[in-house]
């Protein structure tokens, strides 16, 4: 489930001393607070700011902290930021409606655990990356796109855009666009279609649980 995921910005655990880490953490918090802008854009971008702040937190904690602990830090923020149910429905497509409510519930849980675990696993170290949120939103129909860059200390920056939609009164992420244009949900759709063709909902559930277990290294119950 990682055709175009953001893991590329994961760095090998750099051996930075705690002091440096602390300094970077402070800097990044200052940077993050400086990003908040008044007006409509802040309503749309603030979930991403909070998400990036949480990501930085788990990155700084690194592999030293237990997977479960980092998972618990990220989980509420992801629940808040992402429309996970919407993303899952979009990724599955119209087949979703044909599933029983028990299957849907099981898939929702598994997909949530899988998504959070993917972020915890991919952002498990910190080597000076900066998370930049571009000023201004890019509209796409009724949606708004928040444009961000993950800038490593050296090398090429990664463009990562978030498609935001108003769900129940708040702006939530409904898709992530690698390089600003390649849809995570569309890639998941292509992959899930193949899984559904072989074994339907149960096959997808099985795949999500297995992948989550791999990512968590047995640290999730």
């Amino acid at each position: 489930m990682d055709v175009f995921d953001v893991g590329e910005c994961r760095s090998s655990a750099a051996s930075l001393d705690r002091r440096t880490l602390l300094r970077l953490a402070v800097l990044s918090i200052i940077a993050a607070s400086g990003l908040s802008r008044p007006g409509a854009a802040s309503v749309v971008t603030s979930p991403i700011e909070q998400f990036y702040a949480a990501l930085l937190q788990v990155m700084r904690a690194g592999k030293m902290a237990p997977f479960r602990q980092r998972y618990d830090v990220l989980a509420p923020v992801i629940d808040q930021t992402f429309d996970l149910e919407g993303i899952l429905k979009s990724s599955v497509g119209l087949r979703w409606g044909a599933l029983s409510s028990e299957e849907q519930l099981a898939l929702k849980n598994a997909f949530r655990r899988f998504t959070i675990s993917t972020y915890v696993s991919n952002f498990d170290s910190f080597s000076g990356q900066r998370f930049e949120i571009q000023p201004g939103l890019r509209p796409a129909g009724d949606d708004q796109i928040v444009q961000t860059r993950i800038v490593p200390v050296s090398g090429e920056a990664h463009v990562l855009d978030y498609v935001m939609r108003q769900v129940g009164g708040t702006w939530k992420v409904v898709d992530v666009l690698a390089d600003g244009s390649i849809s995570r949900v569309a890639a998941q759709r292509s992959e899930i279609r193949g899984i559904f063709a072989t074994g339907g909902g149960p096959a997808l559930l099985d795949r999500l649980q297995k992948k989550t277990a791999e990512l968590a290294g047995g640290q999730l119950p």
Partner: protein, 711 residues
């Protein structure tokens, strides 16, 4: 014998007043010729061959009045190597013709309506729509990257990211078709054979050709009825415009022109050419015959002038009685010359004989008049009666031919009795001493007399064989079979006969309203020889709700990345080169983990080639890859915006081909291929008419035509 004396008197009068008669004839010919030239028309409309009060002619006329947009068309049939090339060719052709108000009053693109761009996907059945949308969703990485940067660098960026995904064991098989198309395009460009990449084919696969590989431009030219070929100028303009189109010049697209105007003009050209050739051939043959029969130039000139006078007077009669010659009656000239010359020959041969027997020319003429007058009268009356017996038929073409040729025989007879004796008297053919006739043929008489029984038996046998074979003589009702099949319009029709939407023989039915059209369509659809039934209802897709849900789902997935964005500046060759190197930098580390079948190694080779390719290749590559991309992205955006279709939402430019202002609805019925024979077509029309007796259109017209002709 009153007639004999009367005719003898007429001939004697003409001999005595030869100069007066000849001058009167010349004057008459001049007046008649002048009148005929101004009043006698020629029409190639096959409809004119039949009486206007026939029920099927009236239905056809009513249909023409109700749907004038289907009349007098020049139809450009366009096909091309890639669907986009056909589309661009059709669009540019239609635009150029529409701008030419001097030659075209209406230009239509039945398949180019925005309605189909927006609602087209709803016309696919559910499964095919789903697989088409899956295909498009699979191509999202490319579409998204290219919507952001519709250039070669955009494409290379997508390839690089894809390879990175593949390195992480993502399943790349959905992208195989796209990767193969990119490889072919890039490899061909490096090899110097660049050809625009078809994004339609890449995204839609087989569906690209679903609506048929042909595009149509329908043009109603302003006809110039003072010309023998009224659409000739418009046809030439259309041909010139077509030949100047980009893909026609490059040989990738083909524009062929057909339609009723082109067919009629070509038919006219065929007839005109045939008439000229026929006249030259028959004049030569007649002169030869005359020489064999009369052996004297003085007599030959007399006879030819008599024929000419008779022909001009008959033309005058045709101008007064009929006004317009049709494609059948135009043949009267050849009939006239062929038969009238016989009267003159009879007269002249008799005169030669008498001239040998009698002491002087005057006595010879008198004797000729006494002996030949009645003989020729009988022959002329019989021939005229034969021709005039055609007059009562509803097949107006033949009826008019019979009238003109029949009266022409009487005119020829009168000329032979007056003008010819006068001419002979003035020309004074010389006295011949020898016996008239073919001396060498004398022994034949004896042979025939001796073998008369055997000869008679032989002819009886041949006659019997003819009667035996008669039932095998079928009537071919297909009017297209009478046309020259080598002309462009005909060859184009031939090529389209397999295409259900361009069948030249269809049935049109006008029903009370769309609802009754739907009910009748259903019954027609079940008929064994019916392949398809179209009406306004055909433009309202079935099962819209699930299809709209599928489309909305795809729009939800693709909308954000397909949304139009300000395009970055067109990359320079150096930027394309850099993009190729960057992509290569991402692909190369991934190569070991990727399967050969995905063509990623081949693409890596292509990128290596591009990194060292000259600027001209890189620029050509930019054009090759992205020439048709912006339009395809627009089409995809339009298609994903599909909305529910009802009878009310069908745009007027489409609806007017199917609905009349008073609410009546047209149905078009298309036959199966087995109905292309005469018998099949008759059966097809009979089946349809059992359901809808008031059928019009080309198929019932053809069938009714043949019924009228045979009756």
């Amino acid at each position: 014998m009153r007639a004999e004396r009367l005719l003898a008197g007429l001939i004697e009068y003409s001999r005595q007043h030869a100069w007066a008669v000849v001058l009167a004839g010349a004057l008459l010919a001049a007046i008649a010729g002048f009148y005929a030239a101004g009043h006698l028309g020629l029409s190639s409309e096959t409809d004119r061959l039949f009486a206007a009060n026939l029920p099927w002619r009236q239905r056809a006329a009513a249909f023409k009045a109700e749907f004038p947009q289907f009349q007098n068309l020049l139809v450009a049939v366009i096909d091309a190597r890639e669907p986009e090339e056909a589309e661009v060719t059709a669009t540019t052709l239609a635009e150029s013709l529409a701008a030419d108000q001097a030659h075209f009053q209406l230009v239509q693109r039945p398949d180019g309506s925005t309605f189909f761009r927006k609602e087209g996907m709803l016309f696919l059945d559910g499964t095919r729509l789903e697989s088409a949308l899956d295909h498009i969703i699979d191509a999202q990485p490319f579409l998204g990257e290219l919507a952001k940067d519709p250039s070669a660098s955009g494409l290379f960026a997508a390839l690089g990211l894809l390879a990175v995904g593949g390195e992480r064991h993502a399943d790349l098989t959905p992208y195989r078709a796209a990767l193969s198309a990119f490889h072919n395009s890039i490899a061909a460009t490096i090899a110097g054979q660049s050809h625009p990449l078809s994004w339609t084919r890449l995204l839609a696969g087989d569906l690209a050709d679903e609506a048929g590989t042909y595009k149509f431009v329908l043009a109603q030219p302003r006809l110039d009825h003072t010309q023998l070929q009224p659409g000739g100028t418009a046809l030439r303009v259309m041909r010139n415009v077509a030949n100047d189109l980009e893909f026609v010049k490059s040989g990738d697209a083909r524009v062929r022109i057909t339609g009723s105007v082109a067919l009629a003009d070509e038919e006219f050209a065929t007839v005109a050419q045939g008439a000229v050739e026929g006249m030259v051939a028959s004049t030569l043959l007649i002169t030869l015959w005359l020489f064999l029969a009369v052996r004297s130039w003085r007599l030959i000139v007399s006879i030819l002038l008599t024929l000419a006078l008779g022909l001009v007077l008959t033309l005058f009669f045709a101008a007064v009685a009929v006004g317009t010659l049709n494609l059948v009656s135009v043949g009267f000239g050849i009939l006239f010359v062929g038969i009238a010359v016989d009267f003159a020959i009879q007269f002249s041969v008799r005169y030669r004989e008498m001239r040998r027997v009698k002491s002087d020319a005057a006595a010879a003429m008198a004797a000729t008049g006494r002996r030949a007058g009645v003989q020729i009268l009988v022959a002329a009356a019989a021939t005229a009666a034969g021709f005039l017996s055609f007059v009562p038929t509803d097949f107006r073409g033949v009826a008019e031919l019979g009238l003109i040729a029949g009266v022409g025989m009487l005119i020829a007879f009168l000329c032979t009795m007056t003008f010819l004796p006068a001419m002979i008297t003035l020309c004074q053919p010389s006295y011949e001493g020898a016996e008239i006739g073919f001396g060498w043929a004398v022994p034949l008489d004896e042979i025939i007399r001796r073998h008369r029984r055997r000869l008679l038996a032989l002819f009886f046998a041949l006659g019997g064989l003819g009667i035996f074979l008669l039932p095998r003589l079928a009537f071919d009702s297909n009017p297209l079979h009478t046309k020259d099949s080598t002309t462009e319009a005909m060859r184009t029709l031939d090529g389209l006969r397999d295409s259900p939407f361009a069948n030249p023989f269809t049935v049109d039915i006008v029903t009370a309203d769309p609802a009754s059209a739907a009910a009748i369509s259903q019954r027609l659809h079940d008929l064994p020889l019916v392949s398809n039934v179209l009406s306004i209802n055909s433009f309202v897709p079935a099962d819209q709700a699930p299809k709209l849900a599928l489309i909305a789902d795809a729009r939800n997935l693709l909308g954000a990345t397909l949304a139009p964005r300000p395009a970055p500046a067109r990359p320079t060759p150096e930027q394309i080169r850099t993009a190729a190197k960057v992509a290569l930098g991402r692909i190369e580390p991934a190569l070991s983990g990727l399967s050969e079948g995905l063509l990623i190694p081949a693409l890596a080779d292509d990128l290596r080639g591009l990194a060292i390719a000259p600027d001209s290749v890189l620029l050509a590559l930019g054009r090759t890859l992205t020439r048709f991309l912006p339009t395809q992205l627009d089409r995809l955006r339009d298609a994903l915006e599909a909305q529910p279709v009802t009878l009310q939402t069908i745009p007027p430019e489409l609806a007017r081909d199917w609905l009349l202002p008073d609410g009546r609805a047209r149905i078009q019925v298309l036959p199966k291929p087995q109905a292309s024979s005469s018998r099949g077509l008759t059966e097809f029309v009979a089946q349809v008419e059992a359901v809808a007796p008031d059928a019009a259109g080309s198929a019932p017209t053809v069938v009714a035509t043949s019924a009228t002709i045979v009756a």
